[in-house]
C-alpha cells in the first residue's frame, strides 16, 4: 500500500465532497432517461489513466471488467454525476410492496456492437453465467460478485450448491426482467451500477467460446457506447464509438492509458487529458498559472490506516494503550504538510466527506492526554514499553506517512518505534501469521468504502462479507494462535472451517467488539431506515472508539483535467478515480 496518496485542506474537501457526492439516496436513484441523447457526431479524443486490465470478461474480477462498466458495456443501470444511479438498458423499474421483487423495463433498441439485440433473456444468461463458478474456473480467476446482493439462490450458486438456472433473475417478457430478493435491499441499484457482474454479454458470441475471446479486441463484444478498437497489453487500449449504441455517443476516440508514472509530464505533453498527480507534483502545479486552473481535488473512499498487529504480548489489548497511540498522531499535519493536500484527516473508516459525523467520533490529536493515558497504562514517558514495529508493504525505507507516524509516536509518547518494510508477499503472510511476544505494534493497511452511502457500506463489509475483519485483532496472543491454527487447517472443509472460525471469534474476541457485530447485524436486518441508520451510527461510533484501527488520512486525488473537457464525473470509490461513465464526457 505504498502509494503517493497525500495531503489536503478540510474546508475545500467538504465543498467538493458536497458537489461530487450528491445529497443522498433519493437523489442518487434517478429514473429519468439518460442525457446521452442527441444527434451530434462523436467528436474529440479523450485520454486518461486507469489501472491495467488483463481480461475484459465482466464476469471475472479484473480491472478490465471495471473498464467494461464505464463505457464498453452498459448494464441495467449505471453511475452518473455524483455517483448517482442512472438508467442504462433499463428505462424504468418498480419494486413490489414488500421490497422483494424488482421489475425492470428494458429499452427495445439496445444492441451489441455486432448488431445482436439485448433482451431480458440476455441479462438472465449473463447473470447466471457470472454467478456460476464454472465460468471463473474455466478462466483461472476469481468471480466478480458481491456476497451480500441478496438475490434468491445467488449465494448458493456461487458456492456450487445450486444450479445457475435457479437464480432469482427471470425474463418475464422479451424486455421485462424481474429480480427476486431474499430480503429487501434499498441499495440494490447501487450494487448493480457499481459491480460489473450484471453487464450483459452476447450469448451468441460467448456460448462455447474459449476464454481467449476476452483478451482480443475484435471479440470483446459489448453493448456500451464504445467498442474496443485495440488493446496493447500492459500499455493501454483504444475505444471508438459503437455504431449500434441506442443513444448518442459523445467522443470519437478514447485512449485508456495503463502507465501510471509521470502523469504530470504526460498531461503537459498532451498524451493525457486527465491525470492523477503525485503529492510531489503539487507545488509545481500550483505555481503554474495554466495548470493550477485545471487542478481538481477529488476525495476518494480509500482511507490509509494502521491496525493493531497480533502478538502473543497482549500490550495492545489494553484500551488505554491503543487510545494513547491513536491520540498521538497529528493527522492534520500529515495531510497538509506531508501530503500537500492529497489526503484529508481521517477519523473513521468511512471518510468524513461521506459521513461528517466521523470527525466527532474519532480520536483527536491530543499529546497531553495521550501521555496521560500511557502513564495510566503503566508506561509513563514510554518507559518500559517494548519496541513498537510498524509493518508496511514498502521494501526499504518507510513511505512518508509511515515515517511521520513513527516520528510522532517516538516524540509524543517516548516509545521506540522501528519500521518493518517488506515486499508484498512477505507482508501478506506476516499480517496474519502469529507473532512472538517480542513483536508488538501496527501494520499499515487501507480500507475502501464499497458503496456511496456509508450506512450501506457497514453491513456490506461487516455482515455481508462474513464478519468484521477486526475481530481477530482483538484476540489475546494465545487465542490468536489457536484461531490461526483453524484458518490453516487443510483437513477441514471450507464450510466447517468458516463455522469454526466464526464460533471461535464469537467466544474469544473482545466482548465489546462481539456486541458491536450484533448491533451491525441488527441494523442489517432492520427494514426501517431510520432505526437502521441509528444502529449503524452506534456501531461505527463504538468501532472507532475501540481504536484497534487508527485511520490516518483519506486519499484525495489531485487531478488535472484539461479545461476543454466537460462531464468528467470521477468514480470516487476507486483509488485512480477514472470517469464513472465515459460517455458523459464531451470535448469543447
Amino acid at each position: 500500500m505504498k502509494r503517493n496518496w497525500h495531503g489536503a485542506v478540510v474546508s475545500g474537501i467538504l465543498v467538493l465532497a458536497t458537489a461530487l457526492a450528491g445529497c443522498g439516496p433519493a437523489a442518487r436513484h434517478a429514473t429519468t432517461t439518460s442525457s446521452s441523447s442527441g444527434s451530434a457526431k462523436p467528436s474529440g479524443t479523450f485520454s486518461f489513466y486507469i489501472n491495467k486490465g488483463t481480461v475484459w470478461d465482466p464476469a471475472i474480477w479484473n480491472w478490465g471488467a471495471h473498464m467494461d462498466q464505464i463505457g464498453i458495456f452498459e448494464g441495467l443501470v449505471r453511475l452518473g454525476k455524483s455517483m448517482a444511479v442512472r438508467p442504462g438498458v433499463a428505462e424504468s423499474w418498480t419494486t413490489s410492496s414488500n421490497g422483494l421483487v424488482w421489475t425492470f423495463q428494458l429499452r427495445h433498441n439496445a444492441e451489441f456492437s455486432n448488431g445482436d439485440p439485448v433482451t431480458a433473456q440476455t441479462f438472465v444468461y449473463s447473470m447466471e453465467r457470472a454467478v456460476n463458478p464454472a465460468t471463473s474456473k474455466a478462466a483461472g480467476a476469481g468471480t466478480s460478485w458481491f456476497n451480500d446482493v441478496p438475490i434468491v439462490n445467488g449465494e448458493q450458486i456461487a458456492a456450487g450448491q445450486a444450479d445457475p438456472s435457479t437464480l432469482g433473475v427471470k425474463a418475464t417478457g422479451t424486455y421485462t426482467l424481474t429480480i427476486t430478493l431474499t430480503k429487501p435491499d434499498t441499495q440494490l441499484l447501487d450494487q448493480l451500477a457499481i459491480d460489473p457482474w450484471q453487464l450483459p454479454v452476447d450469448p451468441k458470441v460467448v456460448q462455447g467460446a474459449a476464454p481467449t475471446i476476452w483478451t482480443n479486441a475484435a471479440t470483446i463484444i459489448g453493448n456500451g457506447p464504445y467498442m474496443v478498437q485495440s488493446v496493447t497489453p500492459n500499455v493501454g487500449m483504444t475505444l471508438v464509438p459503437n455504431p449500434h449504441y441506442w443513444g448518442h455517443v459523445t467522443l470519437a476516440k478514447v485512449n485508456l492509458v495503463f502507465t501510471a508514472t509521470k502523469q504530470l509530464l504526460a498531461f503537459e505533453g498532451g498524451q493525457l487529458d486527465a491525470a492523477v498527480l503525485a503529492s510531489t507534483d503539487i507545488p509545481t502545479v500550483k505555481s503554474s498559472t495554466t495548470l493550477s486552473k485545471e487542478l481538481h481535488w477529488v476525495p476518494t473512499a480509500i482511507t490509509y490506516t494502521v491496525r493493531v498487529w497480533n502478538s502473543s504480548n497482549n500490550i495492545f489489548q489494553n484500551q488505554l494503550v491503543r487510545e494513547a497511540f491513536a491520540m498521538a498522531i497529528d493527522k492534520q499535519t500529515i495531510s497538509e504538510k506531508i501530503l500537500n493536500g492529497t489526503g484529508t484527516p481521517a477519523y473513521g473508516q468511512i471518510p468524513t466527506w461521506m459521513a461528517p459525523f466521523e470527525q466527532q467520533i474519532g480520536y483527536q490529536y491530543n499529546v497531553q492526554k495521550a501521555q496521560q493515558l500511557l502513564a495510566q497504562a503503566g508506561y509513563p514517558g514510554g518507559k518500559g514499553f517494548p519496541t513498537v514495529s510498524v509493518l508496511d508493504a514498502t521494501f526499504g525505507s518507510p513511505d512518508a506517512v509511515a515515517e511521520a507516524v513513527i516520528q510522532m509516536w517516538e516524540q509524543n509518547l517516548g516509545v521506540t518505534v522501528k519500521f518493518d518494510g517488506q515486499n508484498w508477499g512477505t507482508y501478506v503472510k506476516d499480517i496474519s501469521a502469529p507473532n512472538p511476544s517480542t513483536v508488538v505494534g501496527y501494520y499499515q493497511n487501507g480500507y475502501g468504502v464499497p458503496l456511496p452511502d456509508w450506512q450501506s457500506s457497514i453491513p456490506h463489509h461487516v455482515v455481508g462479507s462474513g464478519g468484521d475483519p477486526t475481530l481477530p485483532e482483538t484476540l489475546s496472543g494465545s487465542d490468536y494462535a489457536q484461531y490461526y491454527a483453524i484458518t490453516q487447517n487443510v483437513a477441514l472443509s471450507t464450510a466447517d472451517k468458516l463455522a469454526q472460525e466464526k464460533a471461535f471469534l464469537l467466544a474469544h474476541a473482545n466482548p465489546t467488539e462481539v456486541q458491536m457485530l450484533k448491533t451491525a447485524q441488527q441494523a442489517w436486518a432492520t427494514t426501517d431506515s431510520t432505526s437502521a441508520m441509528k444502529l449503524f451510527k452506534q456501531f461505527e461510533t463504538e468501532r472507532e472508539q475501540m481504536a484497534y484501527v487508527d485511520p490516518i488520512y483519506t486519499v484525495q486525488n489531485a487531478m488535472l483535467i484539461r479545461s476543454t473537457v466537460q462531464g468528467y464525473h470521477p468514480m470516487q470509490l476507486w483509488l485512480s478515480t477514472p470517469p464513472d461513465w465515459i460517455n458523459d464526457i464531451t470535448i469543447s
Binding site: 500500500m1 474480477w61 466478480s144 496493447t232 500499455v235 509521470k262 480509500i302 508484498w424 501478506v428
Partner: protein
Amino acid sequence: MAVYVLKRLAYMVFALVGVLFVTFWMMRLAPGNFFSITQYQNSMQLAGFQQMNPGIIQAWVQRWGLGLPWYEQFWRYLRDIGTMHLGTSFEYPETPTLQIIERTFPVSLLLAVLGVAVAVAVSIPLGIIAAMKRNTWVDSGTMFVSMTGHAIPNYVLAVLFILIFSLWLKVLPVIGWGKPKDVIMPVLALALPMVGSMSRYMRSSLVDNLRREYVTGVIAGGGSSREVIFGHALRNSLIPLVTVVGPTLAGLMVGTVFIEQIFGIPGLGSYFTTAAQSRDYPMIMDSTFFYAALVMLMNLVVDLAYGVLDPRTRRR
C-alpha cells in the same frame, strides 16, 4: 570449431537446468502467493473484490499442478521446456507465456540493440579522438562529457529528455509506442549512460595499442596517423569493447524496465518484474529460462567473435 560450439551448447543445457532449479526453489521459498497478493492489493484500491470460492482455488491449483510434490512439478516444467509446451501465466491465464515473450521480447531487444548501437557509434569516435589527443583538453573534455553521461541514471535522463523534447520543444511524445519517433527518447536514455564506460574502454585500448611495437613499425615505415589507427590499431582496440558490448546487451535486455515503465513501452522487462513481485510462477520461470538461455548464447557469440577479431584465440 564445431566441436567447441557443441561442447559449449552441452554446458549450456546443464547450466540452464541449474538456473531453473535455483529459480524454482527461490520462488517457492518467497512468501505469499499470486492470488493472496493481487487480491489484497486490489481490495485496497476499489470497492469490488473477487470471490475465491474453494472450487475456483482447487481448479487453479489443479490447472498449474501446484498440489504435486516439488520434484514432480519441476520435472513437469523441464519436460514442458524440452517440448516447448509452456503454459499460461497466472496474471494472463488466457495467453501462453511463450506468446507473451514472443510479443514483448522484440520490443526490449529493439530498445537494447538500438541503445547499444547508438552507444557504440558514439563511443568509438569519442574514444579515438580522446586517444589521438590524449592528455590534452580535448581528451579531458571528451572524457568529462562521457563520464557525466555515465554518472546519470537512465531514468533521470529519460525525464530530462521528456522535459526538453516533449514539453519545451514539443517534438516527441511523452508516452506511447508504435511510431518511429517513440523510440528516440528511450534509446537515447539507454545509450548515453553506456557511452561513458564504452568510450573509456575504447580510449584505453587504443592508447595501449598505439604504444605497441607493430604501431612503431608502421610509423617507421612512413604510415600516416589515419593508416596507423584505421589500418592497424583500431581493429585490435575493438576487442575489449566487444567484451563489454556482449554482456551489456544481454544485461540491457532485462534492464530496460524503468525506461519501459516511464515511456509506456510494452517490453518484456516490465512483465518480468511484475511477475516477480506478484509471484506469477509460470511467468517467472519462463522468463528466467528465456533470459538465461539468451545470456548464455550472447556469451557464446562474444567468444566466437573474439575468434573472428583475434585469430590467436581460435588456436587456443
